[in-house]
């Protein structure tokens, strides 16, 4: 290849290295271009990088804030969850207490009602017994009263009448 480049003017002296002047001029042009770029595009580029850095920083800050908010929200949710749990436990305990109280009250009320019913039943029984007894006594008395006139009148003969009269005279004469 080196042989070929030396022999052929259209060819470079090295298959990899440029010619010397191309290195000089190319290097100078590159430096010039880089200088221009540094002079005119540098600030813009620098500003773009700063803006990018600021944007990235802002995104990082936002992310940090979001993470803080999320963590706070997570804490709040956990707290709320804890509150819900305690509230649930409190409600369940309260419900248990109310149920127990209702049970106790219901038993007490039922016991009182049972006692009242028993007392009323006993009183009714006594009243009914008394009433029946009274009615029976009244009926016996009524029958006795109805019979006594007839029995007594029928049993009074003339001798008895005279005896009653004589007894009355004697009793009155003796000072009643």
């Amino acid at each position: 290849m080196t042989f070929l480049a030396t022999a052929d003017p259209t060819r470079t002296h090295s298959w990899i290295w440029p010619e010397g002047y191309e290195v000089y001029f190319g290097g100078a042009a590159s430096i010039f271009v880089f200088a221009l770029l540094f002079k005119f595009a540098g600030p813009t580029l620098k500003k773009g990088m700063s803006d990018r850095t600021a944007r990235i920083q802002k995104q990082l800050d936002d992310a940090a804030n979001a993470m803080s908010s999320a963590q706070a929200e997570a804490i709040r949710i956990r707290e709320a969850k804890g509150d819900i749990g305690s509230e649930r436990a409190r409600l369940l305990a309260e419900a248990d207490t109310q149920a127990q109280q209702l049970l106790v009250d219901g038993r007490a009320r039922l016991e009182v009602e049972i006692v009242d019913l028993e007392t009323k039943a006993v009183a009714d029984n006594v009243a009914a017994s008394g009433r029946i007894g009274d009615e029976l006594r009244a009926e016996v008395a009524r029958l006795s009263i109805a019979a006594v006139d007839h029995v007594v009148s029928g049993s009074l003969d003339a001798a008895t009448h005279q005896e009653l009269i004589e007894n009355f005279i004697v009793r009155v004469g003796a000072g009643r």
Binding site: V148, D149, L156, H161, L164, I165, N167, G173
Partner: protein
Amino acid sequence: MTDQRIDGYARALFEIARAEGTLDTVEDELYRFARALEGSEALRNSLTDEQIPASRRQSIVEDLVGGSASPTTVQLVSMVVGSGRGRDLPAIVDSLVARASSAKNLELAEVRTAVPLTGDQESRLAAALAAATGKSVNLKVVVDPSVIGGVVATIGDTVIDGSVRSRIEQLKSRL
């Protein structure tokens, strides 16, 4: 009828009976008749019914007591009934008996029995009542079947009840 008119009739009957000399008998017969009149609604209605002529009412009286009472008693009752005062006859007779008792200085004692008393029983009963009350009594005996048995004596406000009826009533009260 006013008390004054009743007293007037009683005084008239009293004077007539006393003039006839049968005061005790008439007084006793009138008293019995008055009690019988009180006890019989039918008799009372018959003798006080203004629709029945006075002569008819008087003939009822004569038929009723003519055979068992003295003529003076029959005539006096007939007179009262005929004058339309039959309803007031018991009050008139009560006034007459009170007047007679007062005239004889006796206390009226009404005695009700279920059966008639004998004369001896009446005498002994009058004596017993006099001893019990400390007053001489003008005994008037009324046969009242409602007494059932025994005797009920009423002297003024005092009642001595020895009747079977009262004992039955006491028994009924206890029952």
